[in-house]
């Protein structure tokens, strides 16, 4: 590429197209430019296990965690529709210390809103990995348990617990917002009891989870998610 043409002062359409194609090839994939063995970097990087504190310290930390649940604002499926009433005046989840956060880095609860298509699952896994531990996953609706009504669809997975650890499941299609609240109450209780170690479980069984994920997701490049 000629330097002088950088901003395309005077160029022909065909040339520009050709350049564009080249560029598109270069720019499309965020993991392009990485060495072949590093291509799966965003997928394969193994997190480290972090042990919980001991005794009363962990109990206190768990209490704080249970009282401040920040959910990731990622509506992965139809479940997102009942999150909105929950966030708004009628059900007002803020009362329970639950807030929606727009970025996975700051969130600690991931609500899998029902079915997950393969394309979304990739983002779910990535978002889950971006979240900081301890992190909790709520499976909302039947689809997360055993595929729900899309059990025979070619594009939706059947069980989310094959790909990321799930702490609490909520039955229903759609579950009412109250059921979701009930799920949060259960989650809080489990956190306080120190039962929500999904993050460490994911690390312990990392190879198993990755194998499952890789079985259906072959290309780990996500131009929208890789950082």
């Amino acid at each position: 590429m000629k330097e002088s043409n950088m901003d395309g002062l005077q160029t022909t359409a065909t040339e520009t197209e050709q350049q564009l194609e080249d560029m598109a090839k270069e720019m499309r994939l965020a993991n392009d430019g990485l060495l072949e063995q590093d291509k799966g970097y965003f997928c394969d990087v193994r997190p480290h296990r972090v042990e919980p504190y001991k005794g009363i310290m962990e109990s206190f930390a768990n209490w704080a965690r249970s009282q401040s649940l920040w959910i990731l604002g990622f509506g992965t499926g139809c479940g997102a529709i009942e999150l909105r009433p929950l966030m708004t005046s009628r059900f007002d989840m803020y009362r329970y210390g639950i807030q929606a956060r727009p970025t996975p880095r700051q969130s600690c609860v991931f609500i899998i809103g029902g079915y997950a298509s393969v394309k979304t699952l990739k983002r779910i896994v990535r978002s889950y990995e971006q979240m900081q531990g301890p992190k909790f996953v709520l499976g909302l609706g039947s689809c997360t348990v055993n595929g729900g009504m899309y059990w025979d669809s070619y594009n939706t997975i059947n069980r989310i617990d094959q790909y990321i650890p799930v702490d609490v499941y909520i039955a229903g299609c759609m579950p009412r917002p109250e059921a979701l609240l009930g799920g949060f109450i259960k989650l809080k209780q489990m956190i306080r009891e120190g039962k929500c170690e999904g993050m460490n479980k994911y690390i312990d069984d990392f190879d198993w989870y990755k194998a499952n994920q890789k079985q259906i997701i072959h290309d780990w490049n996500m131009p929208d998610y890789n950082w």
Binding site: A61, S68, Y94, R95, P102, R105, Q132, G133
Partner: protein, 303 residues
């Protein structure tokens, strides 16, 4: 030496008080905002738990030295702002390190925190962060104009750059407040305060919808905890500053609480009533009428 030590202890107490006050104020205002929205809202102490929770996070991701230092700078900015503002006029404990010329220092510290944040966010690698940073800096530059004009007007009105002296000059009745002696400066200042407190309509920097969520996108765990602590302190500092500049300061804690609460309430009232401007719109806004008012205030003082 001893005096300095005493002063330091007092400052620590003052800091402790303002931190908690800032946190509680944040919690209370969340409830007020919730009330407008027709709901009950989070518990008043929710900010404490959030900060605790964030500090109890087991993992944190780190993008480089600047990323790590960003929240530190921000906290330093917040602390710095507060340390040079007398919170309660005449109080030994709450007068902090106020000295002549501190007004300039404070204005610098307000900037400093933002810049630190910008550096940190810039290194996070997330495209939303630089977008948010560029918006934040641009908007900040814009609202600094009316604010600076307003400060210049006040400084020339009282012929001093010491906040303590400005507060002292406003004592002796409501009518001595800048709000009444120099209403134009007050108006310009209070409008820029809206921008400074980053509520609507000037919240595009940290808007969750437009770009989630601006500079702090990648901030998490204890970084975020630190940011939240700073936000409490910085909020308190700003409120106290504006109280001191325009509303006669406070002679005791009670007055301070009432006045700052009302000033904060004013931003919340505006916040709940409006959507947010785009960056270019808010810049245009600040450089428009508020800047003109500021200029008018300065010109009036000059005359």
């Amino acid at each position: 030496m001893n005096e300095i030590m005493t002063k330091a202890w007092y400052t620590l107490i003052s800091l402790f008080v303002i931190t908690n006050y800032g946190l509680l104020l944040g919690g209370t205002m969340a409830r007020v905002r919730a009330k407008v929205q027709g709901r009950i809202g989070q518990p008043v102490w929710q900010p404490y738990i959030d900060i605790l929770k964030n500090n109890f996070k087991r993992t944190g991701i780190y993008h480089g030295v600047m990323f790590y230092l960003g929240p530190v700078f921000r906290l330093a900015g917040g602390l710095g702002t507060y340390l040079f503002i007398p919170a309660v006029y005449g109080s030994l404990v709450f007068s902090n390190f106020s000295f002549s010329g501190d007004l300039l220092l404070v204005m610098y510290f307000i900037f400093f925190g933002q810049l630190g944040m910008a550096l940190g966010a810039g290194q996070s690698g997330h495209p939303y962060s630089p977008l948010g940073v560029s918006r934040g800096l641009a908007q900040m530059t814009a609202f600094e104009v009316p604010f600076a004009l307003s400060v210049i007007a006040i400084a020339s009105q009282y012929q001093t750059l010491s906040i303590t002296e400005i507060v002292a000059a406003q004592q002796g009745g409501i009518l001595n407040w800048v709000a009444f002696t120099n209403p134009l400066a007050m108006v310009a200042g209070m409008i820029s305060f809206l921008g400074m407190s980053m509520g609507n309509p000037f919240s595009v920097v940290i808007a969750p919808q437009e770009i989630p969520i601006g500079p702090p996108t990648e901030m998490q765990s204890s970084f975020l905890g630190m940011l939240q602590t700073n936000r409490a302190i910085f909020n308190g500092a700003k409120l106290v500053l504006f109280m001191n500049l325009y509303f006669g300061g406070a002679t005791n804690i009670g007055v301070m609480v009432i006045k700052t609460f009302l000033i904060y309430l004013y931003t919340v009232i505006v916040d709940a009533s409006f959507p947010r401007f785009r960056t270019d719109q808010s810049i245009r806004f600040f450089l428009g009428i508020p800047a003109l008012i500021g200029i008018a205030a300065v010109v009036l003082q000059m005359l």
